[in-house]
């Protein structure tokens, strides 16, 4: 079927494919989350947590105060971060990222009347999402903005 010179590539390829087919199930065991997106903290570290409080400030704007435990805020970003509980938080408003909080206080501007769900999701220094034992590490606050006086 093939010339004698063709068996070298076939042998090389069969070795490669067999090696990967055997090794991949071991690597993929236990539902590992994609490393490109998530930073899994080691088990021996306490799991961070974050709570969010929202306060109205002047001009109809809202200020979020993030209280994080076992997590340090930093504005320093890295291309590849170590799995340590340090970084920043992404602020998600009704499913859309609106800001990044590099410290515990962040203003998110005015909100229209109605009910708003605002979440703070902890991220590592390389922007990957910190992964706790139950998924993302996040806090949530619901803001209800009353209708303003009608003129």
């Amino acid at each position: 079927m093939m010339g004698g010179g063709s068996w070298g590539p076939v042998l090389a390829l069969s070795g490669l494919l067999a090696g990967l087919a055997v090794a991949a199930p071991a690597v993929n065991a236990g539902d590992p989350a994609p490393r490109a997106v998530f930073l899994q903290l080691p088990d021996h570290l306490p799991e961070p947590s974050v709570t969010v409080r929202a306060d109205p400030i002047s001009g109809g704007r809202w200020r979020l105060t993030l209280t994080a435990r076992d997590f340090g805020f930093t504005a320093i970003c890295l291309s590849t971060a170590e799995p340590v509980p340090m970084g920043h938080a992404h602020i998600i408003h009704d499913g859309v990222k609106v800001a990044a909080a590099y410290g515990p206080i962040v203003d998110i501007g005015p909100l229209p009347p109605g009910r708003h769900v605002v979440e703070a999701v902890l991220r590592g220094q390389d922007h990957r999402a910190l992964l706790g034992r139950d998924g993302l590490i996040k806090g949530q606050v619901v803001i209800v903005v009353p209708e303003g006086p009608r003129g």
Partner: protein, 353 residues
């Protein structure tokens, strides 16, 4: 000596990807930035698909991939006379139009990276200059902001085709520097920029270039063997890059690929996404391995060109994300596994007979 090196290469082909797989570190990809917060939340707890965690599936899949490749290699043997007939024409084309395609694609990527004009998802354009690709922001490596200007200058000389060989070598150096500055995260990109740099260093400016007009693309007879070696190195780098990407991302992080397919409403072709993801992984590994081995280079180039274009259209990406690969694949499609016969400079020998 060459034969021994080739055997070593074939053995490495089996061992290196498995080592990558077992020691896989964090890997960045622009794809991660496509997903919405809700999709990322779902991805955090997505179970590993059965087809990627079972030897009962991966074993037969590997056998099937091998059988398909063997069939393709058999067809290659039968089609060799036909390929030999059209090869000279294609190789001549590779020497003239190959370099400008490569130059302009790379120039576009370098200029946009240097100006921050092609940012990753979620970053405003023209704000964050990067190194070669949208993910590698220069602000992450203090003191290296000057690389933005270097890339813009490199883009300019590539467009004009002035000093193309030197520019190609500079691109190889930038790829290596990226590895030093950004670490393992740059492994996803370095081979796919070093290889086109090397190809430009071999071919020069080609058509529509200052170098071409001044006949600076010619080689001295003594150095011509270097062109052949350089071509093989470039081909191996490109193939190794594809195998690395397939193993580091698709094979070991399949839920990310599946989330992206879902996000883009990628056509299912009647198959579940995990199966489609496994097929994509297998195709990338086999194509990369064949490029390393220098077999089926033209058909593999066509397959990869079609696959990259189809993905880019489906995901709504700009072709500039992969302009480096388009140029290289077109060049491999024209020239094949080995370097085209580079023009040799006529050398005048002075002396007394």
């Amino acid at each position: 000596m060459l034969s021994a090196s080739y055997c070593l290469l074939k053995r490495s082909l089996c061992v290196v990807p498995v080592v990558i797989l077992l020691r896989a570190g964090p890997a960045e990809a622009h794809e991660a930035w496509l997903l919405t917060p809700d999709e990322i939340e779902a991805l955090a707890v997505a179970p590993m698909p059965f087809v990627f965690s079972s030897l009962l599936v991966l074993g037969p899949a590997a056998v099937l991939a091998l059988l398909v490749t063997m069939a393709a290699l058999a067809v290659e043997t039968r089609l060799q006379p036909l390929e030999a007939e059209i090869a000279p024409t294609l190789q001549r084309l590779s020497l003239s139009v190959g370099p400008p395609i490569l130059r302009l694609g790379l120039a576009g990527m370098l200029a946009l990276a240097g100006t921050g004009g092609l940012p990753r998802h979620g970053t405003a354009p023209w704000v964050e200059p990067t190194l070669l690709v949208p993910d590698m922001q220069l602000s992450l490596i203090p003191g290296w902001g000057g690389l933005a200007a270097v890339q813009i200058a490199l883009a300019t000389v590539l467009v004009l085709g002035i000093g193309t060989r030197l520019a190609g070598l500079l691109l190889v150096a930038l790829s290596g520097l990226g590895l030093v500055l950004f670490g393992a995260a740059f492994l996803s990109y370095a081979p796919h920029f070093a290889a086109p740099g090397l190809l430009l260093a071999i071919l020069g400016g080609g058509a529509w270039s200052v170098d071409g007009r001044r006949h600076l693309d010619q080689w001295s007879a003594a150095l011509a063997p270097l062109a052949r070696i350089g071509w093989h190195v470039a081909r191996i780098l490109i193939g190794a890059g594809f195998v690395y990407l397939a193993v580091a991302y698709k094979l070991t992080q399949p839920t990310l690929l599946i989330a992206i397919l879902d996000h883009a409403a990628f056509p299912r072709f009647g198959l579940p996404y995990p199966v489609l993801a496994l097929i994509m992984t297998g195709v990338e590994i086999v194509c990369g391995a064949l490029l390393i081995l220098g077999r089926l280079v033209r058909p593999v180039s066509v397959a990869l060109l079609v696959a990259i274009s189809f993905l880019a259209v489906t995901l709504g990406e700009t072709p500039l994300f992969h302009a480096n690969l388009y140029g290289v694949m077109l060049l491999f499609l024209l020239a094949g596994a080995s370097a085209p016969p580079v023009p040799i400079r006529r050398e005048i020998r002075w002396g007394i007979a």
